[in-house]
Amino acid sequence: MDSIEMQRASSRADLAIETRGLGKVFGSKVAVRGLTLEVPRGEVFGFLGPNGAGKSTSIKMLLGLIAPTRGAALVLGSPAGDVPVRRKIGFLPEHFRFYEWLTAAELLGVHGRLYGMTKSKLRARIPELLNEVGLWPHREKQLRNFSKGMMQRLGLAQALLNDPELIFLDEPTSGLDPAGRKLVRDIIRAQRDRGATVFLNSHLLSEVEVTCDRVAFIKNGEVLETRRLGALLEGEVTVTMRTGNLSPETLVSLAQRVSSLKATGDLLTFCTPSMDPLPDIVRFLVNQNVDVYEITPQRLSLEDLFLRIVGADGGL
Protein backbone atom coordinates (compact mmCIF):
# COMPACT_ATOMS: atom_id res chain seq x y z
CA MET A 1 0.00 0.00 0.00
CA ASP A 2 1.42 3.39 -0.92
CA SER A 3 0.62 6.68 0.80
CA ILE A 4 -2.14 7.64 -1.68
CA GLU A 5 -3.94 4.30 -1.17
CA MET A 6 -3.42 4.66 2.56
CA GLN A 7 -4.96 8.14 2.42
CA ARG A 8 -8.07 6.71 0.70
CA ALA A 9 -8.34 3.85 3.18
CA SER A 10 -7.65 5.79 6.38
CA SER A 11 -10.48 7.34 8.33
CA ARG A 12 -8.44 8.33 11.36
CA ALA A 13 -8.90 12.09 11.48
CA ASP A 14 -7.73 11.97 15.10
CA LEU A 15 -4.19 11.07 14.03
CA ALA A 16 -1.52 13.63 13.17
CA ILE A 17 0.84 10.93 11.88
CA GLU A 18 0.06 7.44 10.69
CA THR A 19 2.66 5.11 9.18
CA ARG A 20 2.47 1.53 7.94
CA GLY A 21 5.68 -0.47 7.49
CA LEU A 22 7.64 2.63 6.48
CA GLY A 23 11.14 1.58 5.47
CA LYS A 24 14.32 2.97 3.97
CA VAL A 25 17.31 1.12 2.58
CA PHE A 26 20.50 2.97 1.61
CA GLY A 27 22.39 0.60 -0.70
CA SER A 28 22.88 -2.49 1.43
CA LYS A 29 22.20 -0.71 4.73
CA VAL A 30 18.74 -0.93 6.22
CA ALA A 31 18.18 2.40 7.99
CA VAL A 32 14.51 1.90 8.83
CA ARG A 33 13.10 -1.62 8.69
CA GLY A 34 9.37 -1.04 8.96
CA LEU A 35 7.98 1.78 11.03
CA THR A 36 4.35 1.44 12.06
CA LEU A 37 3.23 4.35 14.16
CA GLU A 38 0.15 6.27 15.21
CA VAL A 39 0.56 9.73 16.71
CA PRO A 40 -2.71 11.22 18.04
CA ARG A 41 -3.39 14.89 17.35
CA GLY A 42 -2.80 17.31 20.21
CA GLU A 43 -0.22 15.19 22.01
CA VAL A 44 3.49 15.57 22.67
CA PHE A 45 4.95 12.40 21.24
CA GLY A 46 8.45 11.24 22.21
CA PHE A 47 10.44 9.26 19.67
CA LEU A 48 13.13 7.36 21.55
CA GLY A 49 15.84 5.02 20.49
CA PRO A 50 19.59 4.44 20.58
CA ASN A 51 22.03 5.97 18.13
CA GLY A 52 21.54 4.56 14.64
CA ALA A 53 18.01 3.35 15.41
CA GLY A 54 16.67 5.22 12.38
CA LYS A 55 15.02 8.15 14.20
CA SER A 56 16.37 10.96 12.03
CA THR A 57 15.77 8.98 8.83
CA SER A 58 12.18 8.37 9.96
CA ILE A 59 11.62 12.08 10.61
CA LYS A 60 13.10 12.93 7.22
CA MET A 61 10.74 10.46 5.55
CA LEU A 62 7.76 12.01 7.35
CA LEU A 63 8.86 15.44 6.13
CA GLY A 64 9.47 14.34 2.54
CA LEU A 65 13.22 14.96 2.68
CA ILE A 66 13.90 11.27 2.08
CA ALA A 67 11.81 8.99 -0.13
CA PRO A 68 10.86 5.72 1.60
CA THR A 69 11.76 2.49 -0.18
CA ARG A 70 8.68 0.77 1.25
CA GLY A 71 5.55 1.38 3.28
CA ALA A 72 3.34 4.43 3.53
CA ALA A 73 2.89 7.47 5.74
CA LEU A 74 0.19 10.05 6.26
CA VAL A 75 0.98 13.38 7.89
CA LEU A 76 -2.05 15.47 8.88
CA GLY A 77 -4.09 13.22 6.59
CA SER A 78 -1.93 13.76 3.47
CA PRO A 79 0.88 11.64 2.05
CA ALA A 80 4.20 12.47 3.71
CA GLY A 81 6.03 15.23 1.82
CA ASP A 82 2.83 16.74 0.39
CA VAL A 83 3.69 20.39 -0.36
CA PRO A 84 0.42 22.15 0.63
CA VAL A 85 0.26 20.35 3.98
CA ARG A 86 3.70 21.73 4.86
CA ARG A 87 2.01 25.06 5.52
CA LYS A 88 0.74 23.43 8.72
CA ILE A 89 4.07 21.90 9.72
CA GLY A 90 7.05 23.30 11.60
CA PHE A 91 10.45 21.61 11.73
CA LEU A 92 13.55 22.17 13.81
CA PRO A 93 16.39 20.09 12.28
CA GLU A 94 18.91 18.41 14.56
CA HIS A 95 21.70 20.81 13.60
CA PHE A 96 19.91 23.96 12.57
CA ARG A 97 22.00 25.92 10.09
CA PHE A 98 21.14 28.77 7.78
CA TYR A 99 22.78 31.49 5.74
CA GLU A 100 25.15 33.09 8.21
CA TRP A 101 25.04 36.45 6.44
CA LEU A 102 21.40 36.95 7.44
CA THR A 103 20.35 38.64 10.67
CA ALA A 104 17.99 36.84 13.04
CA ALA A 105 15.04 38.98 11.95
CA GLU A 106 15.87 38.52 8.26
CA LEU A 107 16.05 34.75 8.67
CA LEU A 108 12.54 34.69 10.09
CA GLY A 109 11.43 36.98 7.26
CA VAL A 110 12.78 34.57 4.62
CA HIS A 111 11.15 31.56 6.28
CA GLY A 112 7.90 33.46 6.73
CA ARG A 113 7.79 34.35 3.05
CA LEU A 114 8.49 30.71 2.17
CA TYR A 115 5.42 29.88 4.27
CA GLY A 116 3.52 32.44 2.18
CA MET A 117 2.96 34.80 5.13
CA THR A 118 2.15 38.42 4.33
CA LYS A 119 4.52 41.24 5.25
CA SER A 120 2.06 42.74 7.73
CA LYS A 121 1.63 39.38 9.47
CA LEU A 122 5.39 38.91 9.62
CA ARG A 123 5.89 42.41 11.06
CA ALA A 124 3.81 41.34 14.06
CA ARG A 125 4.94 37.72 14.30
CA ILE A 126 8.74 38.15 14.10
CA PRO A 127 9.16 40.38 17.20
CA GLU A 128 6.73 38.18 19.10
CA LEU A 129 8.76 35.04 18.34
CA LEU A 130 12.16 36.64 18.90
CA ASN A 131 10.95 37.78 22.30
CA GLU A 132 9.61 34.32 23.06
CA VAL A 133 12.98 32.65 22.41
CA GLY A 134 14.93 35.46 24.09
CA LEU A 135 16.66 36.75 20.94
CA TRP A 136 14.99 40.14 20.53
CA PRO A 137 18.14 42.02 21.66
CA HIS A 138 20.09 40.11 18.98
CA ARG A 139 17.62 40.65 16.13
CA GLU A 140 20.03 42.70 14.02
CA LYS A 141 23.01 40.43 14.62
CA GLN A 142 24.24 38.25 11.75
CA LEU A 143 24.03 34.51 12.33
CA ARG A 144 27.80 34.15 11.96
CA ASN A 145 28.01 35.79 15.40
CA PHE A 146 25.50 33.40 17.00
CA SER A 147 26.47 30.66 19.46
CA LYS A 148 25.16 27.13 18.99
CA GLY A 149 22.53 27.71 21.64
CA MET A 150 21.36 30.94 20.00
CA MET A 151 21.09 29.17 16.66
CA GLN A 152 19.00 26.47 18.27
CA ARG A 153 16.65 29.09 19.75
CA LEU A 154 16.36 30.76 16.36
CA GLY A 155 15.69 27.39 14.73
CA LEU A 156 12.89 26.86 17.21
CA ALA A 157 11.45 30.28 16.36
CA GLN A 158 11.39 29.51 12.60
CA ALA A 159 9.65 26.19 13.37
CA LEU A 160 6.85 28.09 15.13
CA LEU A 161 6.45 30.96 12.64
CA ASN A 162 3.31 29.63 10.96
CA ASP A 163 1.54 28.49 14.16
CA PRO A 164 1.90 24.91 12.92
CA GLU A 165 -0.55 22.11 13.65
CA LEU A 166 2.34 19.66 13.79
CA ILE A 167 5.87 20.45 14.96
CA PHE A 168 8.84 18.14 14.48
CA LEU A 169 11.63 18.84 16.94
CA ASP A 170 14.81 16.87 16.31
CA GLU A 171 17.01 17.12 19.42
CA PRO A 172 15.69 20.60 20.31
CA THR A 173 17.77 20.98 23.48
CA SER A 174 21.05 20.16 21.74
CA GLY A 175 23.57 22.88 22.62
CA LEU A 176 21.25 24.61 25.08
CA ASP A 177 22.08 25.58 28.65
CA PRO A 178 19.62 24.81 31.49
CA ALA A 179 17.72 28.06 30.92
CA GLY A 180 17.45 27.20 27.23
CA ARG A 181 16.17 23.72 28.02
CA LYS A 182 13.53 25.13 30.31
CA LEU A 183 12.52 27.49 27.51
CA VAL A 184 12.10 24.54 25.15
CA ARG A 185 10.01 22.67 27.73
CA ASP A 186 7.81 25.73 28.24
CA ILE A 187 7.38 26.22 24.51
CA ILE A 188 6.46 22.57 23.98
CA ARG A 189 3.83 22.81 26.74
CA ALA A 190 2.48 26.04 25.27
CA GLN A 191 2.19 24.41 21.85
CA ARG A 192 0.31 21.46 23.30
CA ASP A 193 -1.98 23.84 25.20
CA ARG A 194 -2.93 25.57 21.96
CA GLY A 195 -3.76 22.17 20.44
CA ALA A 196 -0.66 21.49 18.34
CA THR A 197 0.95 18.08 18.03
CA VAL A 198 4.65 17.90 18.88
CA PHE A 199 6.82 15.08 17.58
CA LEU A 200 9.91 15.14 19.75
CA ASN A 201 13.12 13.26 19.07
CA SER A 202 15.46 13.62 22.03
CA HIS A 203 18.24 11.74 23.73
CA LEU A 204 17.54 13.50 27.01
CA LEU A 205 15.09 11.11 28.64
CA SER A 206 14.56 13.42 31.59
CA GLU A 207 13.28 16.06 29.16
CA VAL A 208 11.02 13.58 27.45
CA GLU A 209 9.72 12.34 30.79
CA VAL A 210 8.46 15.75 31.80
CA THR A 211 7.10 16.91 28.43
CA CYS A 212 5.72 13.92 26.54
CA ASP A 213 2.25 12.38 26.74
CA ARG A 214 3.28 9.26 24.88
CA VAL A 215 6.55 7.69 23.78
CA ALA A 216 7.57 5.16 21.15
CA PHE A 217 10.72 3.10 21.57
CA ILE A 218 12.46 2.40 18.31
CA LYS A 219 15.37 0.08 17.58
CA ASN A 220 16.80 -1.10 14.26
CA GLY A 221 14.19 0.90 12.45
CA GLU A 222 11.17 -0.69 14.11
CA VAL A 223 8.85 0.42 16.89
CA LEU A 224 9.33 -1.95 19.82
CA GLU A 225 6.70 -0.46 22.06
CA THR A 226 4.50 2.61 22.48
CA ARG A 227 3.41 3.73 25.94
CA ARG A 228 1.46 6.49 27.57
CA LEU A 229 3.81 8.23 29.98
CA GLY A 230 1.19 9.18 32.56
CA ALA A 231 0.30 5.51 33.02
CA LEU A 232 3.95 4.61 33.15
CA LEU A 233 4.77 7.08 35.89
CA GLU A 234 1.80 6.03 38.01
CA GLY A 235 2.59 2.36 37.44
CA GLU A 236 5.16 -0.23 38.44
CA VAL A 237 7.28 0.24 41.57
CA THR A 238 10.64 -1.38 42.28
CA VAL A 239 11.14 -2.01 46.02
CA THR A 240 14.41 -2.51 47.89
CA MET A 241 14.07 -3.87 51.45
CA ARG A 242 16.64 -4.58 54.17
CA THR A 243 15.43 -7.39 56.44
CA GLY A 244 16.57 -9.87 59.07
CA ASN A 245 15.32 -13.26 60.26
CA LEU A 246 13.87 -14.16 56.86
CA SER A 247 13.00 -17.85 56.53
CA PRO A 248 12.93 -19.70 53.16
CA GLU A 249 9.20 -20.44 53.65
CA THR A 250 8.44 -16.71 54.06
CA LEU A 251 10.47 -15.97 50.93
CA VAL A 252 8.37 -18.48 48.94
CA SER A 253 5.15 -16.89 50.28
CA LEU A 254 6.45 -13.40 49.41
CA ALA A 255 7.28 -14.51 45.86
CA GLN A 256 3.55 -15.24 45.36
CA ARG A 257 2.63 -11.63 46.26
CA VAL A 258 5.27 -9.76 44.23
CA SER A 259 7.15 -10.11 40.94
CA SER A 260 10.86 -10.25 40.04
CA LEU A 261 11.84 -11.16 43.61
CA LYS A 262 15.56 -11.38 44.32
CA ALA A 263 17.23 -12.04 47.70
CA THR A 264 20.89 -11.25 48.23
CA GLY A 265 21.82 -11.81 51.88
CA ASP A 266 19.50 -9.60 53.91
CA LEU A 267 18.65 -7.45 50.92
CA LEU A 268 15.42 -8.04 48.99
CA THR A 269 14.38 -6.45 45.71
CA PHE A 270 11.00 -6.99 44.03
CA CYS A 271 8.41 -5.22 41.91
CA THR A 272 4.77 -4.36 42.59
CA PRO A 273 2.22 -2.99 40.10
CA SER A 274 1.79 0.17 42.21
CA MET A 275 2.42 1.58 45.70
CA ASP A 276 -0.89 0.24 47.04
CA PRO A 277 0.18 -3.34 48.04
CA LEU A 278 3.24 -2.17 50.03
CA PRO A 279 1.60 -1.73 53.49
CA ASP A 280 0.09 -5.24 53.22
CA ILE A 281 3.46 -6.71 52.24
CA VAL A 282 5.19 -5.09 55.22
CA ARG A 283 2.37 -6.27 57.53
CA PHE A 284 2.72 -9.81 56.15
CA LEU A 285 6.49 -9.87 56.77
CA VAL A 286 6.14 -8.51 60.32
CA ASN A 287 3.49 -11.15 61.08
CA GLN A 288 5.99 -13.77 59.85
CA ASN A 289 8.46 -12.43 62.49
CA VAL A 290 10.70 -10.87 59.83
CA ASP A 291 12.66 -7.82 61.03
CA VAL A 292 12.14 -4.94 58.55
CA TYR A 293 14.93 -2.32 58.85
CA GLU A 294 14.50 -0.35 55.67
CA ILE A 295 12.13 -0.12 52.71
CA THR A 296 12.76 2.01 49.59
CA PRO A 297 10.10 2.06 46.85
CA GLN A 298 11.18 3.48 43.50
CA ARG A 299 8.96 4.23 40.55
CA LEU A 300 10.19 3.00 37.20
CA SER A 301 11.93 5.86 35.42
CA LEU A 302 11.81 6.38 31.69
CA GLU A 303 15.49 5.49 31.62
CA ASP A 304 14.78 2.15 33.32
CA LEU A 305 12.03 1.47 30.83
CA PHE A 306 14.25 2.51 27.92
CA LEU A 307 17.02 0.15 29.01
CA ARG A 308 14.55 -2.63 29.63
CA ILE A 309 12.89 -2.29 26.21
CA VAL A 310 15.79 -1.21 24.03
CA GLY A 311 18.55 -3.05 25.92
CA ALA A 312 21.65 -1.80 27.71
CA ASP A 313 23.78 -2.21 24.59
CA GLY A 314 21.69 0.45 22.89
CA GLY A 315 21.41 -1.69 19.82
CA LEU A 316 25.09 -1.38 18.94
Partner: protein
Protein backbone atom coordinates in the same frame (compact mmCIF):
# COMPACT_ATOMS: atom_id res chain seq x y z
CA UNK B 1 6.10 33.04 -4.83
CA UNK B 2 8.63 30.57 -3.37
CA UNK B 3 10.70 30.77 -6.56
CA UNK B 4 11.05 34.56 -6.23
CA UNK B 5 11.87 34.34 -2.53
CA UNK B 6 14.70 31.93 -3.37
CA UNK B 7 15.83 34.13 -6.29
CA UNK B 8 15.95 37.16 -3.98
CA UNK B 9 17.83 35.23 -1.29
CA UNK B 10 20.34 33.97 -3.86
CA UNK B 11 20.98 37.46 -5.19
CA UNK B 12 21.24 38.92 -1.69
CA UNK B 13 23.56 36.09 -0.68
CA UNK B 14 26.04 37.09 -3.36
CA UNK B 15 25.86 40.72 -2.29
CA UNK B 16 26.14 39.97 1.45
CA UNK B 17 28.89 37.42 1.04
CA UNK B 18 30.72 40.13 -0.91
CA UNK B 19 31.11 37.81 -3.90
CA UNK B 20 29.31 40.29 -6.11
CA UNK B 21 31.22 43.30 -4.81
CA UNK B 22 34.56 41.55 -5.02
CA UNK B 23 33.73 40.47 -8.56
CA UNK B 24 32.78 44.04 -9.42
CA UNK B 25 35.94 45.44 -7.81
CA UNK B 26 38.08 42.84 -9.59
CA UNK B 27 36.17 43.57 -12.81
CA UNK B 28 36.72 47.29 -12.23
CA UNK B 29 40.44 46.63 -11.81
CA UNK B 30 40.42 44.62 -15.00
CA UNK B 31 38.64 47.41 -16.87
CA UNK B 32 41.06 50.00 -15.47
CA UNK B 33 44.00 47.95 -16.70
CA UNK B 34 42.36 47.48 -20.08
CA UNK B 35 41.60 51.20 -20.31
CA UNK B 36 45.20 52.11 -19.46
CA UNK B 37 46.54 49.71 -22.08
CA UNK B 38 44.08 50.95 -24.68
CA UNK B 39 44.93 54.56 -23.91
CA UNK B 40 48.66 54.08 -24.45
CA UNK B 41 48.17 51.89 -27.51
CA UNK B 42 45.91 54.47 -29.09
CA UNK B 43 48.31 57.35 -28.36
CA UNK B 44 51.70 55.75 -28.91
CA UNK B 45 51.09 53.53 -31.88
CA UNK B 46 53.36 54.16 -34.90
CA UNK B 47 52.24 52.20 -37.92
CA UNK B 48 52.43 52.99 -41.62
CA UNK B 49 48.70 53.11 -42.23
CA UNK B 50 45.43 53.91 -40.48
CA UNK B 51 44.09 50.48 -41.49
CA UNK B 52 46.86 48.69 -39.59
CA UNK B 53 46.38 51.00 -36.58
CA UNK B 54 42.73 50.16 -36.58
CA UNK B 55 43.55 46.46 -36.84
CA UNK B 56 45.94 46.60 -33.86
CA UNK B 57 43.40 48.40 -31.69
CA UNK B 58 40.68 45.96 -32.69
CA UNK B 59 42.95 43.08 -31.75
CA UNK B 60 43.45 44.70 -28.35
CA UNK B 61 39.70 45.01 -28.01
CA UNK B 62 39.21 41.33 -28.84
CA UNK B 63 41.92 40.46 -26.32
CA UNK B 64 39.98 42.41 -23.69
CA UNK B 65 36.75 40.63 -24.58
CA UNK B 66 38.56 37.27 -24.52
CA UNK B 67 39.94 37.93 -21.01
CA UNK B 68 36.51 39.15 -19.83
CA UNK B 69 34.95 35.97 -21.18
CA UNK B 70 37.47 33.86 -19.25
CA UNK B 71 36.64 35.77 -16.06
CA UNK B 72 32.93 35.19 -16.71
CA UNK B 73 33.52 31.44 -17.08
CA UNK B 74 35.39 31.29 -13.78
CA UNK B 75 32.85 33.51 -12.02
CA UNK B 76 29.97 31.29 -13.18
CA UNK B 77 31.52 28.08 -11.93
CA UNK B 78 32.77 29.56 -8.65
CA UNK B 79 29.46 31.08 -7.57
CA UNK B 80 27.28 28.11 -8.54
CA UNK B 81 29.43 25.16 -7.42
CA UNK B 82 28.55 25.48 -3.73
CA UNK B 83 24.89 26.40 -3.86
CA UNK B 84 23.32 22.93 -3.81
CA UNK B 85 26.07 20.59 -2.65
CA UNK B 86 27.17 23.00 0.10
CA UNK B 87 23.64 23.42 1.44
CA UNK B 88 22.98 19.69 1.29
CA UNK B 89 26.25 18.92 3.10
CA UNK B 90 25.66 21.53 5.82
CA UNK B 91 21.98 20.66 6.31
CA UNK B 92 20.88 24.22 5.47
CA UNK B 93 18.61 22.76 2.81
CA UNK B 94 16.54 20.91 5.45
CA UNK B 95 14.97 24.10 6.76
CA UNK B 96 14.12 25.21 3.18
CA UNK B 97 12.95 21.95 1.62
CA UNK B 98 10.44 21.35 4.44
CA UNK B 99 8.65 24.62 3.72
CA UNK B 100 5.59 24.69 1.40
CA UNK B 101 7.78 25.04 -1.68
CA UNK B 102 8.69 22.41 -4.27
CA UNK B 103 12.25 21.42 -5.02
CA UNK B 104 11.71 22.73 -8.54
CA UNK B 105 10.90 26.16 -7.07
CA UNK B 106 14.02 26.06 -4.90
CA UNK B 107 16.32 25.25 -7.79
CA UNK B 108 14.62 27.58 -10.27
CA UNK B 109 14.75 30.37 -7.70
CA UNK B 110 18.48 29.91 -7.27
CA UNK B 111 18.86 29.71 -11.05
CA UNK B 112 17.02 32.99 -11.58
CA UNK B 113 19.14 34.66 -8.90
CA UNK B 114 22.37 33.53 -10.53
CA UNK B 115 21.19 34.36 -14.05
CA UNK B 116 20.38 37.89 -12.88
CA UNK B 117 23.78 38.23 -11.29
CA UNK B 118 25.67 36.84 -14.28
CA UNK B 119 23.71 39.04 -16.70
CA UNK B 120 24.73 42.10 -14.73
CA UNK B 121 28.33 40.86 -14.57
CA UNK B 122 28.54 40.23 -18.34
CA UNK B 123 27.01 43.61 -19.16
CA UNK B 124 29.42 45.31 -16.79
CA UNK B 125 32.56 43.50 -17.87
CA UNK B 126 32.17 42.83 -21.59
CA UNK B 127 30.02 45.90 -22.11
CA UNK B 128 32.69 47.90 -20.25
CA UNK B 129 35.46 46.54 -22.49
CA UNK B 130 33.45 47.38 -25.63
CA UNK B 131 32.69 50.89 -24.39
CA UNK B 132 36.28 51.63 -23.32
CA UNK B 133 37.62 50.23 -26.59
CA UNK B 134 35.36 52.61 -28.51
CA UNK B 135 35.98 55.67 -26.36
CA UNK B 136 39.74 55.30 -25.99
CA UNK B 137 40.75 53.63 -29.23
CA UNK B 138 37.85 54.11 -31.58
CA UNK B 139 37.66 50.33 -31.91
CA UNK B 140 34.15 49.03 -32.47
CA UNK B 141 32.64 45.68 -31.68
CA UNK B 142 30.70 44.22 -34.56
CA UNK B 143 27.33 42.72 -33.64
CA UNK B 144 27.78 43.64 -29.96
CA UNK B 145 24.42 42.36 -28.71
CA UNK B 146 24.71 39.10 -30.60
CA UNK B 147 28.19 38.63 -29.10
CA UNK B 148 27.05 39.49 -25.58
CA UNK B 149 24.08 37.16 -25.99
CA UNK B 150 26.36 34.30 -26.98
CA UNK B 151 28.69 34.92 -24.01
CA UNK B 152 25.55 35.01 -21.82
CA UNK B 153 24.48 31.65 -23.30
CA UNK B 154 27.97 30.27 -22.60
CA UNK B 155 27.64 31.37 -18.98
CA UNK B 156 24.17 29.77 -18.68
CA UNK B 157 25.43 26.49 -20.15
CA UNK B 158 28.16 26.40 -17.50
CA UNK B 159 25.73 27.48 -14.76
CA UNK B 160 23.30 24.68 -15.59
CA UNK B 161 26.00 22.02 -15.80
CA UNK B 162 27.45 23.23 -12.48
CA UNK B 163 24.00 23.03 -10.87
CA UNK B 164 23.51 19.54 -12.31
CA UNK B 165 26.85 18.42 -10.84
CA UNK B 166 25.86 20.05 -7.54
CA UNK B 167 22.88 17.69 -7.25
CA UNK B 168 25.22 14.69 -7.27
CA UNK B 169 28.71 15.72 -6.14
CA UNK B 170 30.44 17.77 -3.48
CA UNK B 171 31.28 21.44 -4.03
CA UNK B 172 34.91 20.78 -4.86
CA UNK B 173 34.11 17.85 -7.16
CA UNK B 174 31.45 19.89 -8.98
CA UNK B 175 33.87 22.77 -9.58
CA UNK B 176 36.66 20.46 -10.73
CA UNK B 177 34.35 18.50 -13.06
CA UNK B 178 32.86 21.55 -14.77
CA UNK B 179 36.21 23.29 -15.08
CA UNK B 180 37.65 20.05 -16.46
CA UNK B 181 34.91 19.65 -19.07
CA UNK B 182 35.22 23.29 -20.05
CA UNK B 183 38.98 22.78 -20.27
CA UNK B 184 38.40 19.92 -22.72
CA UNK B 185 36.13 22.17 -24.80
CA UNK B 186 38.72 24.98 -24.62
CA UNK B 187 41.51 22.68 -25.82
CA UNK B 188 39.22 21.22 -28.47
CA UNK B 189 38.50 24.75 -29.67
CA UNK B 190 42.20 25.48 -30.15
CA UNK B 191 42.78 22.15 -31.90
CA UNK B 192 39.92 23.08 -34.23
CA UNK B 193 41.46 26.53 -34.87
CA UNK B 194 44.86 25.08 -35.67
CA UNK B 195 43.18 22.38 -37.78
CA UNK B 196 41.36 25.07 -39.75
CA UNK B 197 44.64 26.99 -40.22
CA UNK B 198 46.52 23.88 -41.43
CA UNK B 199 43.47 22.56 -43.32
CA UNK B 200 43.38 19.38 -41.22
CA UNK B 201 39.79 18.11 -41.22
CA UNK B 202 40.66 15.53 -38.54
CA UNK B 203 41.74 18.24 -36.10
CA UNK B 204 38.60 20.26 -36.90
CA UNK B 205 36.51 17.17 -36.15
CA UNK B 206 38.24 16.79 -32.76
CA UNK B 207 37.14 20.34 -31.97
CA UNK B 208 33.58 19.62 -33.05
CA UNK B 209 33.39 16.51 -30.85
CA UNK B 210 34.72 18.55 -27.90
CA UNK B 211 32.03 21.17 -28.61
CA UNK B 212 29.34 18.51 -28.62
CA UNK B 213 30.58 17.28 -25.24
CA UNK B 214 30.56 20.85 -23.86
CA UNK B 215 29.42 23.67 -26.17
CA UNK B 216 30.55 26.51 -23.87
CA UNK B 217 33.79 27.30 -25.72
CA UNK B 218 32.16 27.08 -29.13
CA UNK B 219 29.70 29.76 -28.00
CA UNK B 220 32.62 32.07 -27.19
CA UNK B 221 34.20 31.34 -30.57
CA UNK B 222 30.93 32.12 -32.31
CA UNK B 223 30.68 35.31 -30.23
CA UNK B 224 34.27 36.23 -31.15
CA UNK B 225 33.50 35.57 -34.81
CA UNK B 226 30.45 37.83 -34.68
CA UNK B 227 32.23 40.58 -32.73
CA UNK B 228 35.53 40.75 -34.61
CA UNK B 229 36.12 43.33 -37.33
CA UNK B 230 35.51 42.34 -40.97
CA UNK B 231 39.21 42.84 -41.71
CA UNK B 232 40.19 40.49 -38.92
CA UNK B 233 37.81 37.88 -40.30
CA UNK B 234 39.59 38.10 -43.63
CA UNK B 235 43.15 38.17 -42.28
CA UNK B 236 42.73 35.49 -39.60
CA UNK B 237 45.89 36.55 -37.83
CA UNK B 238 44.91 37.05 -34.19
CA UNK B 239 44.81 34.40 -31.45
CA UNK B 240 41.61 36.07 -30.22
CA UNK B 241 39.81 35.81 -33.51
CA UNK B 242 38.18 32.79 -35.04
CA UNK B 243 39.10 30.88 -38.13
CA UNK B 244 36.63 28.04 -37.81
CA UNK B 245 33.42 29.63 -36.58
CA UNK B 246 30.84 27.30 -35.03
CA UNK B 247 27.64 27.24 -37.06
CA UNK B 248 24.25 28.55 -35.97
CA UNK B 249 23.32 24.89 -35.61
CA UNK B 250 25.93 24.60 -32.86
CA UNK B 251 24.33 27.58 -31.11
CA UNK B 252 20.94 25.86 -31.34
CA UNK B 253 22.56 22.70 -29.98
CA UNK B 254 23.97 24.71 -27.06
CA UNK B 255 20.48 26.03 -26.25
CA UNK B 256 19.09 22.48 -26.24
CA UNK B 257 22.12 21.39 -24.17
CA UNK B 258 21.53 24.01 -21.48
CA UNK B 259 17.81 23.19 -21.32
CA UNK B 260 18.55 19.46 -20.96
CA UNK B 261 21.16 20.19 -18.27
CA UNK B 262 18.65 22.32 -16.33
CA UNK B 263 15.95 19.67 -16.77
CA UNK B 264 18.27 16.95 -15.50
CA UNK B 265 19.33 19.12 -12.55
CA UNK B 266 15.65 19.72 -11.64
CA UNK B 267 14.88 16.00 -11.92
CA UNK B 268 17.91 14.86 -9.93
CA UNK B 269 17.27 17.43 -7.21
CA UNK B 270 13.59 16.43 -6.99
CA UNK B 271 14.42 12.75 -6.60
CA UNK B 272 17.46 12.85 -4.36
CA UNK B 273 17.37 12.26 -0.62
CA UNK B 274 18.33 15.28 1.46
Amino acid sequence: MGTWVMAGVTFREAARKKVLWMALVAGGGFLALFATGMHFQARGIHVPSEAIRHQVLNTSLMMGLYAADLLTVLMTILIAADTLSGEIASGTIHAIATKPITRRQILLGKWIGYVGMLTAYILFLLGGVALLGYILGGATVQHLWSGLGLVWLESIVLLNVTLLCGTAFSTLASGVIVLGIHGVAFLGGWIEQIGAFTHSQGAVNVGIVASILMPSESLWRRAAFDMQSPLMSVLNISPFSTLSAPSRLMVAYAVVYLLVALGLALRRFRLRDL
